[in-house]
Symmetry: C2
Subunit: 305 residues, 2 copies
């Protein structure tokens, strides 16, 4: 495979950026990877793990001379990074990001980028509950989706970024920023807030001791705790910057939850049964779309006879 970008700058070195570095190296997709992170500790760990060719101290140093700059910092920090790197970006460079919200990133970043730089926001739909430079691995994007928001960028530049993501294993879809934010509010942002809430409620209940909640969490709650273990800074920024869509979906959620609570209270078993039967079909669709395994319990430490 030939080199797609000569020099790539990763700004922010958490799970997403480090996994990109591993995946780019796996495929021999880029000439050189330069990385930076705000914290000296993160930079030291990244040097130790060694997934970049060079680690530098500032975003401006990393971005200077890069053909592709990847903003992999929390959404709330992107504006300041864009302001710092804007003056040093080389003409014809591409700037992209990996934030979970797209409209707010465009509003924060675009004003700081000079003419002649291609800005193509992106969002790889992959992750684990782990974060930081030690958590990355090359296979994170294999067969996952990456959404790109061309936002008027030149076709050639967009295709080049698209081909990088495909070569890292991902399927690429183009989407409008607002539509992205609504779809993600449904599939990711609202579910995360709900999981955070339920885990918080369990933590609050003094009558149910910690050990009990933990020991007896084999059922649904365990999956909620995995979701709720995600990076707090990242998620704070997601909710603050995708406010409208998230609140709209949560409004719908609350309305439906009240209807089911009423069915429980009044003993309306048919309503519950019909509702639960309908939701099974969505799961079937996800497995058929290849986005999850059909193995029971996600294949957690079980073997079949």
């Amino acid at each position: 495979m030939s080199v797609i970008y000569q020099r790539v700058a990763l700004i922010g070195l958490g799970l997403i950026a480090s996994s990109m570095a591993h995946a780019m190296r796996r495929g021999g997709l880029v000439g050189e990877i330069v990385g930076t992170a705000r914290s000296a500790e993160t930079r030291d760990i990244a040097r130790e793990v060694g997934f970049c060719d060079r680690i530098v101290d500032t975003a401006a140093e990393a971005a200077e001379g890069a053909d592709l700059v990847v903003l992999a910092v929390p959404v709330g920090a992107m504006g300041a990074v864009a302001q710092e790197i804007g003056p040093v970006l080389k003409a014809g460079a591409t700037v992209t990001d990996v934030g979970s919200v797209k409209r707010a990133v465009i509003d924060a970043v675009a004003p700081h980028l000079p003419a002649g730089v291609h800005f193509i926001p992106g969002h790889p739909l992959a992750g684990t509950e782990h974060s930081g430079p030690r958590s990355g691995f090359a296979e994170l994007y294999d067969n996952r989706w990456c959404i790109l928001v061309p936002n008027g960028a030149e076709e050639v530049a967009t295709q080049r970024l698209c081909s990088l993501w495909q070569s890292m294993g991902a399927n690429v879809e183009m989407m409008d920023a607002d539509h992205h934010d609504l779809v993600l509010a449904v599939t990711s942002h609202a579910p995360h807030l709900i999981a955070y809430t339920m885990v918080g409620v369990a933590d609050d209940l003094g009558r149910v001791t910690d050990t009990e909640v933990i020991n007896y969490s084999a059922a649904g709650f365990r999956d909620f705790t995995r979701i709720a273990a995600s990076d707090p800074t990242m998620w704070r920024d997601v909710f603050l910057t995708n406010k409208d869509a998230t609140l709209e979906i949560l409004g719908r959620f609350t309305e439906e939850l009240f209807a089911l609570q009423r069915a429980i209270r009044t003993g309306d078993g048919d309503h519950l049964f019909d509702y639960f039967t309908r939701t099974r079909a969505i799961r079937r669709g996800i497995i058929e779309a290849g986005q999850d395994t059909d193995a029971p319990d996600f294949g957690r430490s079980v073997k079949h006879d």
Copy 2:
């Protein structure tokens, strides 16, 4: 290992009962397993898979002469089964169940059992999103918890049932019925209802097409769909029979969710960050308690470098 019960009757042949059969055979724990199910199709499949020594047509036939009778039918069906088998139970036999709710099962079953029969309700905290006689496997209970509710039963009978569960791989805990129902409302029943609701909301949103919701579900939503794919009949009965505890927890949940929604609306990032940081600790506790793996994304088809 010596035989713990000579003859075991499994009434209901879904995931839980068939996994018990596989686990009992793995350990050579019982002399003979007799199974029955209400539907002829289920009985035929169970014969084909072959996890019982004999499949009979009625609960009474299965229970007659059995040393241990396991009620593995939906909670709402247990009273009728108890009424059917009560007259044929042999003196000194033990009756247990595997229902997700304990107070309602005691109320429905106990009145039908003759004196001289030991009734020890139980609840193995294990499962997958699959159901039916083909879905069972011997390892389902390995290192999972099984809660027993002795409810005044004789110590010797309780210890014998306890030893069966331990030999099937489970850790056993004794608990009062009402406390069980509250703990499970927190760790399982409320999370399931919430997952069902969120999946239902996604399904309703005409503006977000099915394919999008399915393709882009890599994040939290995918875990919700797994939970929401569980057996509709079983869950209908859980909510109808653990009504008070579930509604109480859902009330707390809604209260907390409203507080977080307000924080999003007013842009209170500190509140969100603090809340999300606190929930991370619970996840850590679950991993330390050995009830889940630390592998990213549950070890779903990813390999580490």
